[in-house]
């Protein structure tokens, strides 16, 4: 018995927590990327995640959700959201990059409501879900518990995204430019790089990742368009704990938050969400810039 539960119970919750962390990372990686490069507090990021989920639900009908077509649905949903992201960035967010934080919050939060309204008018307010492709069906027995197989898929997908983003940022020329934009976008612009297009590209990648995450989680079912708000709040908690703009920080913080959330169910089942915010407050008290953030933003 370890603090109110058996060791096997802890093992099961830790594995499940890693599954939750994986989804959190998929959402927050795009958010931290766009914040790092564009310095915009994008509250609509959760809505892009929600949009990916609903696109996947619609694409499932004509394409199917078999072992093969499932991948096509994921990619197309991600690309659809990336396209929506480009529209948002070019027409609505670009003009507010240099505006005060409050303006950014208001504009991006407006899109939370606008996108929720659009989704409600197209898909209705009810929850939706896709079926689980055969290769992800059933559960994996661990320590006496059974973890749905798709949770391991979430973990694998998030590791693949983390590695892919790392290689992109640190092993490609465009990645170097993105990192330079994070450090000093004006200097990068003076060196002849088209920062506008670069920013649009970064925003599209962030939106793609949010859409991909949304499409993936339809396997476990959605409660409705309101998932956008909860998702963006948790994603912000992750990137603040990890350090704004830090990909490694988002990865580590996702694990921290995912585990805190799921282990919190053992300790205080009535207030699991509060545990997450306790972690946030403690981390910020010790390192105000977040675990991997730099002191000067």
């Amino acid at each position: 018995m370890i603090v109110g539960a058996s060791a096997s119970q802890y093992v099961v919750q830790i594995v499940t927590g890693l599954g939750s962390a994986a989804v959190l990372f998929l959402i927050s990686s795009g958010l931290t990327l766009t914040f790092g490069a564009l310095r915009i507090v994008n509250f609509a990021h959760g809505s892009l995640y929600m949009l990916g989920a609903y696109l996947a639900v619609s694409l499932r009908e004509p394409i199917g959700f078999s072992n093969g077509t499932f991948w096509i649905v994921l990619i197309l949903a991600g690309l659809g959201v990336a396209l929506a992201g480009v529209v948002l960035e070019v027409f609505f967010f670009r003009p507010i990059y240099r505006r005060p934080l409050l303006t950014q919050l208001l504009v991006t939060f407006s899109f939370v409501l606008i996108l929720a309204g659009i989704v409600r008018s197209i898909w209705g307010a009810e929850g939706e879900s896709t079926s689980v492709p055969p290769f992800l069906g059933g559960g994996v027995k661990i320590a006496g518990g059974s973890i749905p197989t798709y949770q391991f898929f979430f973990m694998g997908l998030s590791v693949a995204v983390a590695v892919g983003l790392y290689l992109f940022l640190y092993r490609t020329g465009i990645g170097r430019m993105v990192r330079a934009a994070v450090s000093d976008p004006e200097l990068l612009g003076l060196s002849g790089v088209n920062v506008r297009i670069l920013f649009t590209g970064v925003f599209a990648v962030g939106a793609f990742l949010a859409g991909l995450a949304g499409a993936a989680v339809t396997m476990q079912g959605l409660s409705g368009p309101d998932i956008a708000v909860r998702a963006v709040i948790l994603a912000f908690v992750v990137i603040v704990i990890g350090g704004l703009g830090s990909l490694i920080g988002a990865f580590v913080a996702s694990i921290l938050v995912g585990l805190a959330q799921d282990l919190g169910i053992i300790w205080v089942p009535e207030a699991t969400l509060a545990i997450v915010f306790v972690v946030l407050v403690v981390v910020l008290a010790i390192r105000p810039q977040g675990l991997f953030g730099s002191r000067v933003a």
């Binding site: 499940t16 989804v23 209705g124 879900s129 069906g137 059974s146 749905p148 476990q220 079912g221």
Partner: protein, 429 residues
């Protein structure tokens, strides 16, 4: 006779809840007006958007309606938290309020002093659903029970009602785990892990309608189908997800419901209400939203009040109810529905049944009617317990009134004897 209600017309929690219920109510009012209205008065039912989830906005809508002095009667909203706060507002302004879609009786009883005077309950409540589920669990021999409920007013009230009544019925029973995920939670697996660890005989899950789908999917994926679960309000016409993946529903899934149409279409008044609701919502027919019956019952109760007192005077309505003889033509009974003089609650019923599939229905997920266990208020709440729960001096109600009410209850019980369980009018296909 002008009636006001604010409902979730935007269908935030599903089309089958407020929109279908309001459609049915308006159609029922039209039918009523064609046959003379209420006591000779034409009835107008105005329904506005309540902005579901925004309780202050919901209360503001009612406050504006009260200030307009245009309305005689108020029907409750869709959101339970708004309904809980509403009687204080309407009673202070001197208007009667009847519960409609939302009805959480236990907090209402415990706060009767705050506006309960002019509040009347023609609809079935979370309290009744919890008790009906507890009775089902007890009759099926459950001893160790897990609870998982959304962490907001509805979920907490349903869990409280289930827990208290189950432990009363099964004194050696045990609630082995209680989990309260956030309302919009999609990832139930960590909560399911905790439930599985506690090895319950069954699980009461206060998730309802579309919100239960993620829970079901993850429950099945966790390989826990052998453990029976009772979820909420399974048959909602908007339950579209069930059309695309009915295979996601685990075996041994039961549902509690405040008005399963397969049962209500059998009572004389229920039959009329069912036809009105089907005509108003032809896309869903033969399915009728459980919430349509709640609003239709509110109209029926209002009609009885107006016709028996000749006015829309809440003081006269209160006096009538508290004399113990008041009963109205409701959908839940085969005789007039008695209204408890102490609590102002109608003797309505909730059911629990096994979830099954019927491809002939517009939404193929339904109950197996042969498995229904219907529990009425008089089955699960004694007068002594009601007196303990309600926040008022029980001696305000005379023994004559209580006797008159009991006579009505006895008549209702006699009339429904052998009518429901196992004798569905619409056999499963």
């Amino acid at each position: 006779m002008n009636i006001f209600a604010a409902e979730d017309l935007a269908a935030v929690i599903g089309r089958a809840i407020a929109p279908d219920a309001v459609n049915a109510a308006k159609a029922y009012v039209d039918t009523l007006n064609q046959s003379g209205g209420m006591g000779g008065c034409n009835v107008v039912l105005d329904v506005v958007e309540e902005t579901f989830g925004d309780v202050p906005a919901c209360l503001r809508a009612y406050r504006d309606a009260i200030q307009s002095k245009k309305y005689d009667v108020f029907f409750g909203p869709t959101n339970s938290a708004c309904m809980f706060a509403l009687p204080e507002l309407t009673t202070a302004a001197g208007y009667p309020v009847l519960s409609g879609i939302a009805a959480d009786h236990q907090p209402y009883l415990e706060n009767f002093g705050k506006g309960g005077k002019y509040a009347f309950h023609p609809s079935v409540s979370t309290f009744m659903e919890g008790r009906a589920a507890a009775r089902f669990a007890a009759e099926n021999g459950w001893k160790k029970v897990g609870i998982v409920a959304p962490n907001y007013a509805y979920g907490q009230d349903a869990a409280k009602s289930f827990r208290e009544y189950f432990l009363k019925l099964v004194p050696d029973g045990e609630i082995v785990t209680e989990q309260f995920p956030e309302f919009d939670e999609d990832n139930f697996t960590p909560f399911i892990n905790q439930i599985a660890e506690s090895e319950p005989d069954g699980v009461f899950s206060a998730y309802f309608g579309p919100f239960i789908v993620p829970f079901w999917k993850q429950w099945k994926a966790a390989g826990l189908e052998q453990i029976p679960t009772i979820g909420g309000l399974i048959v909602l016409a908007t339950f579209e997800v069930a059309q695309t993946s009915p295979g996601d529903i685990p075996a041994n899934s039961y549902g509690y419901d405040r008005a399963p149409w397969q049962l209500l279409e059998q009572t004389p008044v229920g039959q009329i209400q069912t036809e009105a609701a089907r005509a108003a919502n032809p896309d869903s027919a033969p399915i009728v939203s459980s919430f349509a019956y709640q609003m239709l019952n509110a109209i029926s109760m209002t009609k009885a009040f107006v016709e028996q007192t000749g006015a829309a005077d809440p003081e006269a309505w209160k006096a009538l109810v508290e004399q113990g003889q008041f009963a109205f033509d409701g959908a839940y009974q085969f005789a007039p529905t008695p209204v408890n003089p102490l609590t102002h609650m109608g003797d309505n019923c909730a059911a629990v049944g096994l979830v099954g599939s019927d491809d002939t229905l517009p939404v193929p997920v339904t109950y197996d009617p042969s498995t229904f266990l219907m529990s009425c208020m008089d089955d699960v709440l004694t007068q002594e317990e009601a007196a303990q729960l309600v926040d008022r001096d029980a001696s305000e109600i005379t023994q004559e009134a209580l006797d008159a009410y009991q006579a009505n209850v006895d008549a209702a019980r006699t009339a429904r004897e052998g009518k429901w369980n196992g004798t569905p009018a619409t056999p499963p296909s």
